[in-house]
């Protein structure tokens, strides 16, 4: 059996990739995908612990996260389309009307 530390390390790597992508990417879709990556990194650690402790609650949490992520994706993509229609760009540095 694969030790849990392997899963956790992979989970940490995925999360770190997500954070890094979130911080350095300018394209709003890439940022969006980075968020999904972070969520899935966390999901991986949930299921790993669920398998380790033979508890179902971790897996239930993952389902919840996936449901929320799907809803978020729907709303987020709608916002992205709306932004692109009005601003004709997906570069977040140029979407700065609220900045002083």
């Amino acid at each position: 059996m694969v030790p849990i530390s392997y899963y956790l390390i992979l989970s940490g790597i995925l999360f770190a990739c997500g954070v890094t992508g979130f911080l350095i990417k300018r394209n709003i879709i890439s940022i969006f995908m980075s968020i999904e990556l972070m969520l899935n990194g966390v999901n991986l650690s949930f299921v790993a612990f669920a398998a380790q402790w033979h508890a179902l609650s971790g897996q239930v949490f993952v389902f919840f996260v996936m449901v929320v992520a799907a809803a978020e994706a729907a709303v987020g993509l709608a916002i992205i389309i709306s932004v692109y229609r009005t601003r004709e760009t997906l570069n977040v540095d140029q979407v700065d009307l609220l900045k002083l």
Binding site: V19, F22, L23, I24, D93, D96, K99, L100
Partner: protein
């Protein structure tokens, strides 16, 4: 128990009048304003009369407690009124003369702006003055004391658009503060000494004590501080400077507040505190010396003044000095007697002077008057009565009261008597000078152009006419005042003639009923005082009993002194006649031959300039440099400014964190999360 006298109504009635006129009087017609003011001051007078009739059957002083005011431990001060013979006399003077001056003011102020304001202030003054007189403890008295100061300030600065009037009001208020400071400290010391400010309790606790003949004890200090307060309110040296300037106010105000009533509050207060003063011979001596110096000093200044109201103002200061001499030699009833007669004749003189000013369209310089005798006969005759009364010509009021003071002063020390006598001569001289200059000779007014060239035009307040509220011009027609002004003059003239007859001394065949009437106030403690001190020494004032026990030689001495003082008055009359009627050129020659001394007197001994150099300018400089620039600007303002500036700087430096760049915020969040995780890991592995 005696029937309720409802003393509280006496001060409250004018207060109601003041409230009505002050709050809604602006919408009233002049008739309504005058009606309200006269109704309430008249009602107070009627009430005082009824109280006087009912009180005459009472033996003991009457106290009426309205409500508890301050109760702190053993100390207690109530809203309580106290009626004895002394406060009754004061009540009659204040309400009686006050009512007459209210009536006069209706005529005098009729064409002025702020008619309702004037009567509201006047009624307010009556309220505070009656509170002062009726209070049964020093603290309530102090309320009235401050209140009359306030009313005085408001009324001196009545024509507040005129700069000189506004600053005269300020001067009166500030100079009075100095006196009030002394009064307040005296009250604190009294609480320390007796544990009470109630007159009766103080009498009980101080009464048994023997006089502080050697050195200065607590009572001497209290007495001296009370005298500081009295000097401020009653315009004695060194605090007299505000009173002549107070003549900037309307003339009825000068008559009511700055001649008849308020300025005598100091005399009343000293008389009320006679228990303390009788046990502090040094303080009493200071009172007498201050009075003597003031009476002489002010009389000499009055001789050279050319403004008709200023002459009367310095004359008031001088007469108040007489009252303090009387207090200082222990003749308190003589002081109150002179206070009363002075209220009559000085009120009369001021009102008559106001009538003269009214007649000549606001002119106050006596050199611009003259020959008014036939043009304004009523004013002339009433003023004549006033002039003869203040000069001490028998049998008018001033003769009896002044003579009583001189006689008592002589019994203590001939120095007081001699200076008082010389002042009596000066009084007679400057009053007849005023009389001759105003009413006799040729009319010198009307030559407006030559006015500016006069060397002393700066001292005469000829800017009065330019002021916004100065009496309206009457097309140069010299005219008698309306009846509403003449009637108070006539009543006061009658009182100035007859007022002295209630105190005819024994030497002239009278019974001195006034002193007997006041006897219970001053005698109750005086008898205990003389029992404890059988041999009245130099420092202790000799207490002549009210039973007229002086010997036959004393009586003949008194008669001789009376003759001398009448002679002095007649010499004053003669000199004034010679200089200002018979040979009008002579005064100029005398003035130029006196040279520097005359100039010093004309400039009021440069006292105002001296005070300005010694106190006012250093105070202003100190306030500006140390308090304003140093404390206020560099400490208080700087603390506020610097803290604001510091907050600004700190915000400015951390403002850069809020870049508005979303990813930088995410970076901060990530860094924070990393920090928290690192901390948890570190804690877990420790």
């Amino acid at each position: 128990m005696t029937p309720a006298l409802h003393l509280w109504l006496i001060p409250v009635l004018p207060l109601v009048g003041a409230a009505i006129n002050g709050i809604v009087g602006k919408k009233f017609s002049r008739q309504a304003v005058a009606g309200v003011a006269l109704l309430f001051s008249g009602a107070a007078f009627v009430l005082v009369l009824s109280v006087a009739f009912r009180f005459s059957s009472l033996v003991t002083p009457y106290t009426e407690t309205l409500a508890a005011w301050i109760r702190a431990g053993a100390f207690q001060a109530d809203f309580a009124f106290y009626l004895d013979q002394l406060s009754l006399v004061m009540l009659l003077v204040v309400t009686g003369v006050g009512l007459l001056i209210h009536i006069y003011s209706v005529g005098y102020m009729w064409e002025e702006g702020g008619f309702y304001r004037f009567f509201a202030y006047l009624n307010l003054f009556m309220f505070f003055m009656l509170t002062l007189v009726l209070a049964n403890n020093y603290l309530l008295m102090f309320i009235g004391w401050e209140g009359v100061g306030l009313a005085s300030y408001l009324l001196i600065g009545f024509w507040f658009t005129k700069d000189s009037a506004a600053s005269a009001g300020k001067k009166a208020f500030i100079v009075n503060r100095i006196g009030d400071f002394g009064f307040l400290i005296a009250l604190f010391l009294l609480i320390k000494h007796s544990g009470s400010l109630n007159f009766e309790q103080i009498t009980q606790s101080v009464g048994p004590l023997s006089p502080e003949t050697s050195g200065a004890g607590l009572l001497t200090v209290i007495g001296l501080l009370l005298m500081v307060g009295a000097a401020g309110k009653s315009a004695q040296i060194p605090l007299y400077v505000w009173l002549p300037d107070a003549m900037e106010g309307p003339t009825p105000v000068s008559a009511l507040i700055h001649a008849a009533t308020m300025v005598t509050a100091g005399v009343y207060m000293v008389s009320r505190s006679h228990v303390i003063f009788e046990r502090a011979p040094i303080a009493l001596m200071v009172v007498a010396i201050v009075g003597t110096l003031t009476t002489l000093f002010a009389a000499t200044i009055a001789v050279t003044q050319t403004d008709i109201k200023k002459v009367l103002a310095y004359s008031t200061v001088s007469q108040l000095g007489y009252m303090f001499i009387a207090c200082g030699v222990g003749a308190f009833s003589a002081a109150i007697f002179h206070l009363m007669t002075h209220a009559f004749f000085k009120g009369l003189l001021f009102l008559a002077a106001g009538s003269v000013i009214h007649a000549v369209s606001g002119e106050q310089d006596m050199r611009q008057m003259g020959g008014l005798r036939t043009k304004i006969p009523w004013t002339f005759w009433t003023m004549t009565v006033g002039t003869f009364a203040i000069a001490g010509i028998p049998p008018l009021a001033g003769f009896f009261s002044k003579d009583e003071i001189l006689w008592r002063a002589y019994q203590t020390s001939w120095v007081y008597w001699a200076i008082g006598l010389f002042t009596a001569f000066l009084t007679s001289f400057y009053m007849f000078r005023l009389w001759f200059l105003t009413f006799f000779g040729e009319y010198r007014g009307g030559a407006e152009s030559g006015h500016e060239n006069s060397t002393q035009a700066h001292f005469a307040h000829d800017d009065t006419r330019a002021g916004a509220g100065a009496p309206a011009p009457h097309e140069l027609g010299i005219h008698e005042s309306p009846g509403v002004m003449v009637i108070p003059l006539v009543v006061l003239a009658v009182l100035s003639v007859t007022g002295g007859w209630i105190g005819v001394p024994g030497s002239l065949g009278g019974g001195n009923r006034f002193e007997k009437f006041l006897g219970p106030v001053f005698h109750s403690t005086a008898s205990a005082f003389s029992r404890e001190l059988p041999s009245t020494g130099e420092t202790a004032p000799p207490k002549k009993g009210a039973d007229g026990s002086e010997s036959q030689t004393g009586r003949s001495t008194e008669l001789a002194l009376t003759g001398i003082s009448v002679l002095a008055a007649l010499i004053g009359f003669g000199l004034a006649w010679l200089l200002y009627y018979h040979d009008p050129q002579l005064p100029h020659q005398i003035a130029s031959s006196l040279g520097g001394f005359y100039q010093a007197v004309v400039h009021k001994y440069y006292i105002d300039e001296l005070y300005a150099t010694l106190f006012v300018k250093p105070l202003i400089a100190g306030s500006a440099l140390i308090l304003w620039h140093g404390v206020d600007r560099d400490v208080i303002d700087a603390a506020l400014d610097n803290s604001a500036h510091g907050a600004n700087q700190v915000s400015d430096s951390i403002r850069h964190m809020q870049s508005g760049n979303l990813r930088s915020y995410a970076g901060w969040v990530a860094a924070g999360a990393a920090g928290v995780i690192a901390y948890m890991v570190w804690m877990g592995t420790r």
